[in-house]
Symmetry: C2
Subunit: 341 residues, 2 copies
DNA sequence: TTGATCGTTCAAAGCGCTTTGAGTTTATGC
DNA sequence: GCATAAACTCAAAGCGCTTTGAACGATCAA
């Protein structure tokens, strides 16, 4: 069922049928109704490739997926994608996931800008200095970064206030009397992890508490790493009396380590985790319920896609970049119930 | 940089350039080299929409993502997608994720068959009787089902042997002396969960152990549900002496519940989980290491995509459907160490 | 009545590629 | 030297849509 066939049956030109279907005003209402009617009956769908070729838009946004890295395979990716999808469903677009060997990542980003495969790009998990952003900023393919990075050129981004969040959390612990606070962080080459680290350090400084680098660890997001890191820090003397962990997977491992050492979180020791709201690991369902810095990543996915959509619509008028920083709540629960004495 | 421009610079026709680039034999080697050379220098990328329009292939496979359901937002989706991506990277294809409100799911599947948006479709998490499969089987859009379902028409699928796996696991427990075995399962409306249930029941039958429906529970994949289900079953008298849980998230909750009741898995009570190999939750890193029915879902993603690819290539010759059932290993570890006396 | 205006429709060009069918050149065999 | 085949190249059509610019008839003001 093509436009041509449809227009033949209707005794109209393709022009008129196309316009009727796309809501152009120069078609009489009677004609439009006839067209729509038949289109519905025939179950007509315009061919997307033909449409793209003619309009130059694909109605697809792209996400590059590095196949070796586990970056995207994290529990967070699903939630993030769900948010992205939620927005796209509203504006009738799709997402193209572009699987790419790590070695070719840079090249793929460059090509994407030329090829017109997608109308825009979402980029995740930036490094502290991220070359992808720099090279994309030089093209005119719309993109929004999920996070921030150091880059000379301006670019649009949507990030959460990682630094503020971890400063807040650290201050809470300090005010509860903790001086030796272990930080179990994601890899600090990633900007968000680095920001969290900076927030932690900032809070210590503000209270004049000496910063001890041996209390700061970083590693890949696995339950095992959370366990090992906490277990190891528990050997330090004087022992840390509180832990700040960068995600819920770490939190699982941390809980296990603490319990194994006979320590009851919220009772003998304080624990705060960052919570991205993974549906199957809810902080308030932990035992004890976990105090968290809380920021739904699904919402971030929704918002960033909205921003990208705007970016695409406005492509011609090259307007100012959009920058959004989402606040992070500090949600106090049982795992910090006890004041250190 | 279009074909036209490229051919002008080379002083060749578009035909020749196109053929040179696409490896057709009727181009001299000298010409081909010249063409490839300039194409590389100019960083030429054929426009995908134009290519699709001309060839009728998009080089995209589709995955419909129901935006409300958490089905895809499970920890497994990322791993599965990673496997899909891994294969696609090898054959230079992309995946189109099509976000869809649950209410429109059926319609979207129908449209997909008409519209030529994708060359083929991957379908996941079938219900015991799944209408998507029935309606797709009526079209000529290639698709492969991840799992199985009851359907009159033949269709291609790739599944794991859920029934066999859970029968094996149950038999192990029985042979260790357990008679009252709790089953913490995913929703049995899903075919894979139902199969696991059938496997469990089958093994009981084989050993002449009476089946007690009150020992079988089903629920959504959250840590909390795993916890609650086990906690509740522990109240039964006589108390179950072993648990079979359907995923690693449940296993987390189960461990927590057991410990809270003063039971040490592998010592006071036996525990087997199904393990899809989520990278951040590894069964052998649990304490004690978990006995599992083990089947990497990433591999399944790879295999099913390979099958779909074959299906697409062979579309014209309508050959027999492909059916593959992956074996599931039973990996014995510490959580079933102790023989019941 | 005339010319301008509006509302409605259309033919045709164009988007960037592949592919058909034909044309041109060069090598091969007799 | 000539016919035949092989090797190479090309012009043009076609994929299914949008969009430009023109055309047509009806309406209206002068």
């Amino acid at each position: 069922m093509s436009l041509k066939e449809l227009s033949l049956r209707l005794g109209l030109s393709q022009t008129t049928v196309s316009r009727a279907l796309n809501g152009y005003p120069e078609v009489s209402e009677r004609t439009r109704q006839r067209v729509m009617q038949l289109a519905r009956e025939m179950n007509y769908r315009p061919n997307p490739s033909a449409k793209s070729l003619a309009t130059g838009r694909t109605e697809h946004i792209g996400i590059v997926l590095p196949i070796e890295k586990n970056l995207f395979v994290e529990p967070l990716f699903g939630e993030y994608l769900a948010g992205v999808a939620q927005f796209l469903a509203e504006s009738d677009m799709d997402v193209t996931v572009i699987p790419t060997p790590l070695s070719q990542e840079q090249k793929v980003y460059e090509q994407l800008a030329m090829s017109g495969r997608v109308d825009g790009l979402l980029i995740s998990s930036p490094a502290v200095v991220d070359s992808r952003v720099a090279s994309l900023a030089a093209t005119n393919l719309p993109f929004v970064l999920h996070g921030r990075t150091q880059c000379e050129h301006p670019y649009s981004y949507c990030d959460i206030d990682n630094q503020g969040a971890f400063a807040k959390a650290t201050r809470l612990l300090i005010e509860l009397g903790h001086q030796r606070i272990g930080l179990i962080n994601d890899e600090c080459s990633l900007n968000y992890a680095n920001d969290r680290y900076l927030g932690y350090k900032l809070a210590l400084e503000q209270y004049g508490i000496p910063y001890d680098p041996s209390l700061c660890t970083q590693g890949g997001m696995t339950e095992e790493y959370g366990f090992n890191a906490v277990a190891q820090l528990l050997m330090h003397r004087p022992r840390p009396s509180a832990f700040l962990v960068s995600n819920m997977i770490f939190a699982l491992g941390a809980m296990r380590a603490l319990r194994q050492h006979g320590l009851e979180p919220g009772h003998d020791i304080a624990l705060i985790a960052h919570d991205d709201h993974i549906p199957y690991l809810q902080a308030d369902k932990f035992d004890p319920p976990l105090t968290t810095t809380s920021s739904p990543i699904r919402r971030a996915g929704y918002e960033i896609t909205q921003m990208l959509h705007r970016e695409i619509e406005m492509r011609s008028q090259n307007q100012a970049k959009q920058c959004k920083v989402l606040e992070v709540d500090l949600v106090i629960r049982g795992s910090t119930r006890i004041r250190k004495v």
